[in-house]
């Protein structure tokens, strides 16, 4: 992995992000819908108000002019101004970041922590009972939409058994140990629903990767070294099977940031996902632009990490 390759990839990131931001902005600007829709529906509010607001926020300027304003503002660190809540977008996003990291981050972690071992075990014992059970659970995971599984959990655990609260509250007014208990109680369900969904496809990929590696010669060599089956699996099988999986996990990481729209909607988790969906539904362009731009940076960054990891994990990959 030549140092110079890493630097080159980092440098290429800047123009590629700029390119993405241009296209993102055009898509948002040209998409139909209008942030002041609610105003228009209320007869008590005269139409000129909506018109003046559109003018005030420059909605009627040509697209490229709005893009230049946006880029200039971003350069100055001003992420833009939300039409719906009339506050700076970066405060809006930073407010929701802790919740997102805590709940959705935990779900993604759970997905990876569960999917890797299960995938490896299923791969090393193909067509065993464990393999078939793991497979079927994986299918359950990604064939049922999160709005279905989420609601099912709420009905069972909140309504029938009344064990868990059904609404997530970011500002628990308790402290210390009590806060931890309350926080865990209210995040179990969203973390489970999202973790199951994300982990399910991961299990399938890991299993497929392991199945390809398990019969290769150097695994037999490893076994002949008498280092014990467990170590053969961890050091030799998993290490090489991990390589294609790294690409996939990198693709799933940005989801933490803005992708868990439905789960956040069902459990009312005030994460960046629910902010994104409400902003998209209300055509609050600056918020959508800011969130998707950060998403784009994360996507590009994690894919870069995947490529670097790829080169590091597999010495033969020679990036010229």
């Amino acid at each position: 992995m030549s140092r110079q390759y890493v630097i080159r990839r980092l440098l290429v990131m800047i123009p590629s992000l700029l390119g993405i931001s241009v296209i993102l902005f055009c898509v948002l600007a040209m998409a139909p819908g209008d942030p002041f829709a609610e105003l228009a529906a209320n007869p008590a509010i005269p139409p000129e108000v909506a018109a003046s607001l559109r003018a005030k926020f420059g909605l009627d300027d040509p697209v490229w002019m709005r893009y230049l304003h946006w880029i200039a503002a971003m350069a100055r660190g001003d992420w833009g101004f939300s039409f719906a809540s009339r506050i700076d977008v970066d405060t809006l996003i930073l407010q929701r970041l802790p919740t997102t990291l805590m709940v959705i981050g935990a779900a993604q972690l759970l997905a990876i922590v569960v999917a890797l071992p299960v995938g490896v075990l299923a791969g090393t014992r193909p067509y065993s009972i464990f393999d078939q059970v793991a497979n079927t659970l994986a299918f359950v995971g990604f064939s049922l939409p999160t709005f279905f599984t989420g609601l099912l959990l709420i009905l069972v655990f909140s309504v029938k058994l009344e064990w868990l609260p059904m609404v997530y509250r970011a500002d628990l007014n308790v402290t210390g140990w009590q806060w931890v208990v309350e926080q865990v109680r209210q995040s179990i369900m969203p973390v489970l629903v999202l973790g199951l969904f994300q982990g399910a496809s991961l299990v399938r990929y890991v299993r497929s990767a392991v199945l390809d590696v398990v019969r290769l010669d150097y695994v037999t060599t490893a076994r002949s070294k008498g280092i014990g089956e467990r170590r053969v699996i961890t050091r030799h099988i998993v290490r090489t099977a991990l390589i294609p999986v790294v690409t996939l996990v990198a693709l799933q990481m940005p989801i933490i940031f803005g992708g868990a729209l439905v789960t956040e909607q069902i459990f009312r988790v005030p994460g960046i996902g629910s902010l994104l969906i409400s902003a998209m539904l209300a055509n609050d362009t600056p918020v959508v632009m800011a969130v998707t731009f950060v998403l784009a940076c994360l996507v590009v960054f994690f894919n870069f990490i995947a490529d670097v990891l790829y080169g590091w994990l597999d010495p033969r990959i020679s990036y010229r």
Binding site: V12, V27, A31, S143, R204, Y205, A209, D212, P244, Y310
Partner: protein
Amino acid sequence: MAGSTPVSLTADPPVAAASATPARKARFSPGREAWRRFRRHKLAMASTVILGLIVAAVVLGPLVWRVPINEIDFSAKLEGPSLAHPFGTDDLGQDILARMLYGGRISLAVGLAAMLVACFVGVLVGAIAGMSRGSVDAGLMWLADLFLALPQLPLLLLIIYLFRDSLTKVLGPEGGVFVMVVAVIGGLRWMQVARLVRAQILSIREKEFIEAARALGASNSRQVVRHILPNALGPVIVAGTIDVAAAIIAESTLSFLGLGFPPDIPTWGRVLFDAKDTMDMAPHWVLFSGGAIFLAVLSINFIGDGLRDALDPRRVL
């Protein structure tokens, strides 16, 4: 496929060079060997039967089960399964079985078509990116990053807004929406497949048998099609089968946002979505719709498993 591990060859080179897209099935050399191995995979066989049943039911069903899909009959609201309504009725008294049969055709078609679009584009882009050096590879990967970053909803709004009228004129209301939904779902899922295929190719490209093929004068595309892709089959098939599930579900979220099929077309995703609020009062409505999606996805995935094992020459069963 193991990204980087050397591909140990049994004595002879890979028997069948089949690629994921059935379009090339015709030129597929006689797959007796592949079929024999596929039969070994009990679950895959069972799934083929189940999927066959589902497809038959969905295609022939409406001819046999004559009940119209939107006959509103308030007296029979939210009824459990009965002889008159084997799957029960929804909150407008419409027969769920008829709606599932009618909607199934669209949902399965959307699922499979979107998967094929995603896989075809993904394999194409992945292969070109993997094989070519420098700028083309970087350019295509930038394109993939761009698509990954695009926000789904505004993009959908824009595409629907731009193309709906022209498409409906050409293909009629249902056809137009079908093409659009498949293009949209497929068009937003090829990136994973592309990246996976590229990763595979980067490592397989170094193998001796590729150099051998090159030495024998194989052009780049021939190398990819005949030698590299069959070895990169695993993740593509796995991704493809996962995409079918994702496409069927994505279609339901599209209906939720009003961008998919018009509300009176009962695709499976839509029926499940409509049923979610009365889950505790009318469980049958949710179970049949959720169950149908689950069964279809389950069988498609097991078939994917069987296919991958059968078509992968190195897998000694």
